[in-house]
């Protein structure tokens, strides 16, 4: 079974799951750190990882991830190189892995080739924010299904109930809940308005569980989001951390633990 499906099937009570997923941009800060970062994240106890495929024009991303994308492209990262780096991934990595990126590089690689390669490498799912639902259903769903790759959809506070149900219907794995009307890297924290939106989703009794992303940056926001979903996703906060980190392995483990354990326990 797909590792994402297995992970979410294992969740018995949503509020206790507190699944932690972390995003990083492949090729940042250095071209060849992908596997090292991945292993350190797994060792730190992260539940799932989203590997970002850098793109020149990431319109759903804020400054932090834009800059990591630019740096990664300057470092020479491409889809082909990323696939080479991940060739032996499944020898050491057991957690679910997703690729996240924009549609154009996937189109140029060829959607079928892309999915085939993902299946070979043991990649479990894709998050492509600018691949619309109708195009996916019309043209690509059959291909994704044939290779066992899950396509993860986003919902936002502006997504209508009707559309949420439609997305729930075609989703497998989980639904990516965007916390607010914003691009990635928002620093606003979690407001009451967001919490009532998360609860509105809970009340809908959807087939799929949810992870909350955008604006999750520390222990407090992670725990607060996890009160209302199966867990949450860290992106920009991890990129900012990588920017300053000196000893990747050790510090990444510490970074991951800082979300799972309250600051008091770590200090003690």
């Amino acid at each position: 079974m797909n590792r994402i499906t297995t992970l979410f099937n294992g969740v018995k009570r949503q509020s206790q799951a507190r699944l932690l997923s972390i995003y990083f941009t492949a090729g940042f800060p250095e071209l060849n750190e992908t596997m090292r970062i991945l292993r350190a994240l797994q060792d730190g106890g992260v539940d799932m990882v989203e590997i970002g495929m850098p793109y020149s024009d990431p319109i759903a991303d804020g400054e932090t991830i834009q800059q990591s994308n630019n740096k990664a492209l300057e470092n020479g990262m491409t889809v082909k190189i990323l696939f080479e780096q991940l060739a032996d991934m499944r020898k050491t990595i057991t957690i679910p892995i997703l690729l996240m990126g924009y549609i154009n590089p996937v189109l140029q690689f060829g959607v079928e080739n892309f999915c085939k390669k993902c299946a070979e490498l043991g990649i479990d799912g894709l998050i492509i924010p600018d691949l619309p639902l109708d195009v996916y259903l019309d043209q690509y769903k059959a291909i994704f299904d044939a290779y066992g790759i899950l396509n993860i959809f986003l919902v936002t506070p502006q997504t209508s109930e009707k559309r949420i149900r439609q997305i729930d219907e075609v989703s497998e794995g989980f639904i990516y809940t965007v916390s607010s009307a914003s691009v990635t890297g928002s620093k606003s924290g979690i407001s009451h308005e967001m919490e009532s939106y998360f609860e509105r989703l809970n009340a809908m009794q959807l087939r799929n569980q949810r992870l909350i992303g955008f604006g999750i940056k520390d222990y407090k926001t992670f725990q607060k989001a996890s009160d209302h979903a199966a867990g949450a996703i860290i992106g920009s906060a991890f990129i900012r951390f990588l920017n300053e980190s000196k000893d990747l392995e050790e510090e990444i483990e510490f970074f991951v633990k800082s979300f799972k354990n309250s600051p008091e326990t770590i200090e003690a």
Partner: protein, 399 residues
Amino acid sequence: MKTIVQKKLYHVDSRGYYGSFGGAFIPEMLYSKIEELRENYLSIIAEPSFQKEYNDLLHNYVGRPTPLYRANRLSTKYKTNIFLKREDLCHTGAHKVNNTIGQILMAKKLGKKRVVAETGAGQHGVATATVCALMNIECIIYMGEIDIERQAPNVARMKMLGAEVRPATSGSRTLKDATNEAMRHWITNCAGTHYIIGSVVGPHPCPDMVARFQSIISEEIRWQLKVQTGKETPDYVVACVGGGSNAAGAFYHFLDDEDVKLVAVEAAGQGISSGYSAATTVLGKPGVLHGSHTILMQTADGQVMEPSSISAGLDYPGIGPQHAYLFDSGRGTFMSATDDEAIQAAFELTRFEGIIPALESSHALAVLGKLSASEHDNVIVNLSGRGDKDMATYMKYIY
């Protein structure tokens, strides 16, 4: 603008496509905003009160109809009949205002309190800031940091008109990045913001909406040509293509007249194979840019490439999806002009006819010698803008 009965062939279909081009490749964060536009734009445009205000403003504020002028000396030189559609005489100096007038009325009908737009050379930014001043609506313009330096007079105009000009500091800091920033702004600022896109690009329904607002150009050409020559349809319509809005407007009412050759002129920059070019159909491939499936300049890995042109308004790595379809289907003839050819054409028009054209429009003029038009043919050149904004460039060529 008349309500248009379409034969549909080259117009957008009900799903938002032109053949395989178009669509709305947008993140979910933009879905509800695009949906709101898609559900309302046609009925709003058709409202008599909208039509009345739009036509009234085009007439009394923009100065339409713009003249269709037979360029006699130019016609003699090229041994054909050349007519210039004088969009350069529009208020603010280019065709861009046809779109922003329509868009600001759309924003009002939708109850929007604020407008955001991107700009390259600053012409669309000025046209947007102008209608925002006119309607007393808050205006934010994103402009690449590099373009802000290159186009100082237009930055000053926008500021004088009351707009806030925000530098786009990401990526290559030019038009494509200003467009990204404007889209991000739209994502972040929910319901009250209207995004006025500056060309026939972006997710459906943006390209169709802009094309409709620009279609006044060909609507006027038809009757003006009839008055002057007795014929409603010309043999050629020539227009430059950045994103393609002036071309889309000039082609619109001739799309289904297959005898009319539609000539789109792209910027070849320093030469097609120089590495400094913006000739999208020659150098590009199908893919997704700014929310639509179209033709764009990109690396083998699907990264968007930086275009290059002497004219900031043509310095865009893609073309609108309708143009991609006109190219792909063969309905459109795509040509290109280099920086040098455009400069030459600008000086030629200036000395032959006493009209200083915008650098963008000069690209359209630059292909006149390559059309093989006969002495009986009528050739329309869409003179999309005037050259005031380009004087700093032209001055380098005046000895």
